[in-house]
Structure formats: C-alpha cells, structure tokens
Symmetry: C2
Subunit: 340 residues, 2 copies
C-alpha cells in the first residue's frame, strides 16, 4: 500500500535532443508521492503511452504549455488507478485515463480524466485502439476519408494503433485495405491477423511498382501516418476525387528544420482532397468508437497489438525505438501491474 | 472574304523546351484553310488564350492526346467566328468558343464548341472571367473554399483571370480579400480597381511578415494559383479549419523534374482541407457564372484586365512572357479583328 510521501519515481527531459532522441537525453529522478487537496485525487500509473509527436515539443527555446524544457517531467497519456481521492466523482480503485506522464504517481483535478470500464475491453486499449489513436483512425477514415464499398484504402504505419484501426474499419465497410509498413514481419501480421488485402514494405526497392500493382484502379482513400517519401508515392497513385487524411508526420518529428513536402500537382490532377486531422477534435465521437470497436473487440472480429516495455526505467529506450520506427504495435510502458 | 484553300497561318511546337520556353522553341507554318465536311464548320480565330499549364504537355517522350510533340500545332482555347458551316447548329457569323489553337482558321465538329452571345459581355471574356479561368475561381472559391462573411480569403496571382474572379467574388460575399501578386503595379491595381483589402508582392523581402500582418487572425481560405514558396508561406498562416484550393502550379510547369512541395505539418496543425480543382469538372456551373458574374460586369461592379498581344506571330513571345510571370491580366493574342 502506497501513501503520500512515499517514493515517486519519474523521468525528466535532461536536454533537448539533437536529432532522433537517445536515452541520454532523459534523466531518472525521485520525489515524493503528492497529497490530494480538495477536488483532487492521486493515481498510480499502470500503462504509459509513448507518442512520437511529443518529439515536436522538444525544441530549443520552447516553453510551456506546448514546449518541453530540460528538467520537465516527460508528459504522456496514462492508464492509472485511483489510490486516494478527495474528488466526488472518483473513488479509490477506479481505473482512469489521465495524463500522469512518465512517473509512478500523479495528482489530478479530474479535468481531462475519464473513468474506464474494464468490462468493455482491456484497460490498456484506452491508450490505443479505444483511445485517441483509435479515434483518429476511426473518425478520420469514416468521416473524412468516407470510403465506399469496393474502394481502395491505403494506410501507412499499418500495424500501429491508428493504422490497424483504419485497416480493419475499412474492411468492415467492405473497402479493400492495403497497408504500408516498415518490415516483412509487420506486413505478414497486417495481412494474416488484421485482414489487409495486401501490405507493402516501404523499404522494398520495388515499393513504387508494388504500390501501383496493389492499387490497379488507383488509391481512393490514403490515410497518412508518416509523411515523407511514402506520402509522395501515394499521392502519385491517387484515383480521381481521392481523399487523403493527414494524421501524423513521424518522418518529420526529429528533423531540425521542417523538410519539404510532396509535390502537389498530383492533387490537382486527381482533384483530390487533403484533410488534416487532430484526434482531439473528434472527442464527441469517442462513445461511438467505444461502442462499435469495443463490440468488435469483444466478439473477436477486431485485433490489435501492443509493444509493451516493462518498468518506468525502460521508457527512454522504448521512446527512442519508437522514433526509429522499431516498435511493432502500440508503444506502451508498463509502470505497475494491473492488479496489486 | 476568306475561302477554303486560302492561306492559313499557324504556329507549331518546333522542339521540346529545356526550361522556361523561348520563342525559338516555336515555328511559323503556312497551310490552306480547310473545307468543312457534313456536320462541320470552319471558323476564323479572333482571340487565342494563352495558358501556362500547356507547358506541362511539352515534355520529352510525350504523345497525343495529352502530350505535345515537335511539329504539332500549338493547342489553345479560342474565340472565333463561323465562316462556313455544314453544321445545323452553327451559322456563318456566329461567335463561338472553340479550340482552334495557334492558327488563323480551323475545322470543328461542334464538339466542345459553344456559341457566344456578344450582348452578355465582350466575347473575349469567354476565355477569361466568363470562361474556364473564371469558372475555376468562382466555383473553386464558393463551392470548395466556402468563405463566410468576415473571413480572410488570400489568393495568389491576384490580378489574373482566376485570381481577379476569386478576389471580387470574395468581396461580394463580404469576405476580406487579400491578394498576392508579382509587382507593386499589379498590387496597386488589385487594391484600387479590384477592391482587395490589401495586396502583397511575393518579391518583397518582408513578404512573410507582411502576409502575417495582413491576416492577423490567420487565413481562412487560401486560393493557390502558383505553388512554390508562396504556397508554403500561406500554409504557415492558416487559421483553424482553413480551406486551401489548389488551382494551378505555375511555379512548377517549366521544371524538368517535379520540385518538392510545401511541408504539410501546418495542414495537420490547422486541421485544414486542401482541395485540388480542375475547372472542367465545374462546367455544369458555367450558366451560373455567366448569369452572376456577367450581370456584375454589365453593371460595372466587376472588373477584369486583359494583356493582349497583336497578331498570331506574337504568340510565342507572349507565351514565354506568361511563363515568366510578366503578363498583367489574362494573356490573349488577337489573331483577327472582331469585326471584318
């Protein structure tokens, strides 16, 4: 049993990384578990979500609330359990989605927190396919991409939390899902477990030709999680009136200056629509996601994969792997066991 | 009075240009006026429209119908007058919109042709503000850009046929129109004659800062006719949920290989929508354009400017000027007088 004043381990940003982060950019730190004031609760972090776009906040001269400076606790979405509460809506033992960041315990005022029902699906999914990444994939595909039966939907980072949601939702609405991933192993999983019609490795020397032959009538919906060369290649294969959902730019996050983007003449040629999405805009659709995809998960029709690192101390290494694209599934850190 | 068999002067593509075309890339040629067969008519070209995107068809290894090879008559939209007709819908003396290309006379089967009513507006407008360029600006702004009163609409190539339509239609729907053009002279015309709130020269060393201060609440609708650096700068200033209409990429047409495009992270950040447009898709809206903008022209509320070169022989030089951005207004060549 933990108490206020006990040891709270956490990880700080030690310095602004130069390019792709290395573990030495982070520092281990120990403080005390805080005491909740009126209207607050303290929760114990169980799962920490690692998100590549946090790299963007680590830039020289950045400041709060959006920037990260040396000495700041690394931020991040977490699944946690309430340990002590002076908040009327939260009780000891409740599972909650919070933003504890890279630490074992944190205070919350309940703002931005959300109670989790472990009966719906494993609680870790609140950080992945039933959380913001799944929401981005689900709402981005259905409400922005608007695929029709028989259309070809292509998605990059096809086996991540966003990508695997896009691919499986595409299949559920009778579209053809074609994945793009970074290894043959991921591609095998995409086809065999997630039900993609085909999955291509963007590292293949024949990638462009393979993409063309996997999409003989062009790409009707392209869901981009990477940016860079993969995005440029996909734009060249767009069908007339294609929709392109821009969700993430992992290829750009570690760059010192913004790299140029894809040539856009192909967008005019295809009379295509490009749509930028931030998952937070779609929070009103979260109940729909939880109902629809949660149901598919319970019936076994929807699969997902998690890449779980064990222990808070593993977070820096796991984050660096993520930014090198070496994770396989939603990147999580298990900070504490689900059941004490 | 002309007759079949009389001299028909025309201009051919002599060779595929290396970069920005030079007059030596074209050759003068003389043939005979053709004789109409059943269902055909012969027309005399009055105005020839010069369009920068034709440069894209001039590439090594291109073939018909989309490519242009050495020896081909240069194509182009024209306003012409029927001289001799065996087509039941067209009579001698009718003014018509045709695709005669760079020549004095041409045959037509009536396909893609359209009769013009000189009472609506000067016939040359069928190649500009009441033709495909105007349609692109009108429908692209209203149906894709969807500006609301008080929103800021920014348009590049602000004094061309497309741009001047966008700017004036934006004003008519009570949006703030901010133009971007290539010289102080064009900017003065944009503000004083076309009613733009402000117009900035993209050649100014302070262009970015000027754009920011002309759009203090960001850009709600950006209508792009140029691509390149101007597009990148505009994307950085987008307001949340901005719409970007991609209409032309003049900056790219003369390049040997496709240059990279703008960084797209700004599109995600703004949750913006980018929409590629081809005017031809909006031909069903042409009667609306002619009714609405034609009415504004007759009432003096809508202005436009034409940059007219005299005589067929001036077409190569005028086309090269156009691709260097040196035209001021819709680029036309007067091949023959309107009234014989």
């Amino acid at each position: 049993m933990y108490q206020a004043g006990d040891r709270n381990d956490r990880i700080l940003l030690a310095r602004v990384p130069g390019g792709v982060p290395v573990p030495e950019d982070f520092a281990y730190d120990v403080t005390a578990i805080p005491t909740p004031g009126p209207g607050q609760f303290v929760s114990r972090t169980i799962y920490l979500s690692l998100e590549p776009h946090y790299r963007m906040f680590m830039r020289p001269g950045q400041t709060a609330p959006h920037g990260l400076c040396a000495g700041d606790v690394m931020p991040g979405e977490t699944v946690a359990q309430v340990m002590q509460s002076r908040h009327s809506d939260y009780r000891r033992g409740d599972f909650v989605l919070t933003r504890n960041g890279w630490q074992q315990f944190a205070l919350s005022s309940g703002q931005d927190a959300r109670k989790l029902d472990p009966a719906i699906a494993p609680i870790s999914t609140a950080l992945g396919v039933l959380g913001l990444p799944g929401l981005c994939g689900y709402a981005g595909l259905l409400y922005l991409g608007q695929p029709k039966p028989g259309e070809t939907v292509v998605v990059s980072a096809a086996t991540g939390a966003v990508g695997s949601t896009v691919g499986q939702v595409a299949r559920m609405v009778s579209a053809r899902a074609v994945g793009i991933a970074g290894s043959d192993e991921k591609c095998g999983y995409a086809v065999n477990d997630l039900g993609y019609t085909a999955c291509l490795s963007h590292r293949s020397p024949q990638f462009l030709a393979e993409l063309r032959s996997a999409c003989p009538e062009g790409i009707d919906v392209y869901f981009d999680n990477t940016g860079g060369e993969v995005l440029s290649s996909a734009l060249e294969q767009l069908a007339i009136h294609a929709r392109v959902v821009l969700c993430g730019m992992a290829a750009a996050y570690s760059r010192q200056s913004m790299p140029p983007g894809p040539p856009l003449l192909a967008v005019i040629r295809a009379r295509a629509t490009l749509l930028g999405i931030l998952a937070e805009d779609y929070l009103p659709y979260l109940p729909e996601l939880i109902k629809v995809v949660g149901g598919w998960i319970r019936s076994g029709r929807f699969r997902y994969r998690e890449d779980i690192s064990e222990g808070l101390a593993s977070a820096p290494t796991a984050f660096c792997r993520l930014l090198r694209g070496e994770n396989f599934g939603k990147a999580l850190v298990r900070i504490a066991p689900e059941h004490l």
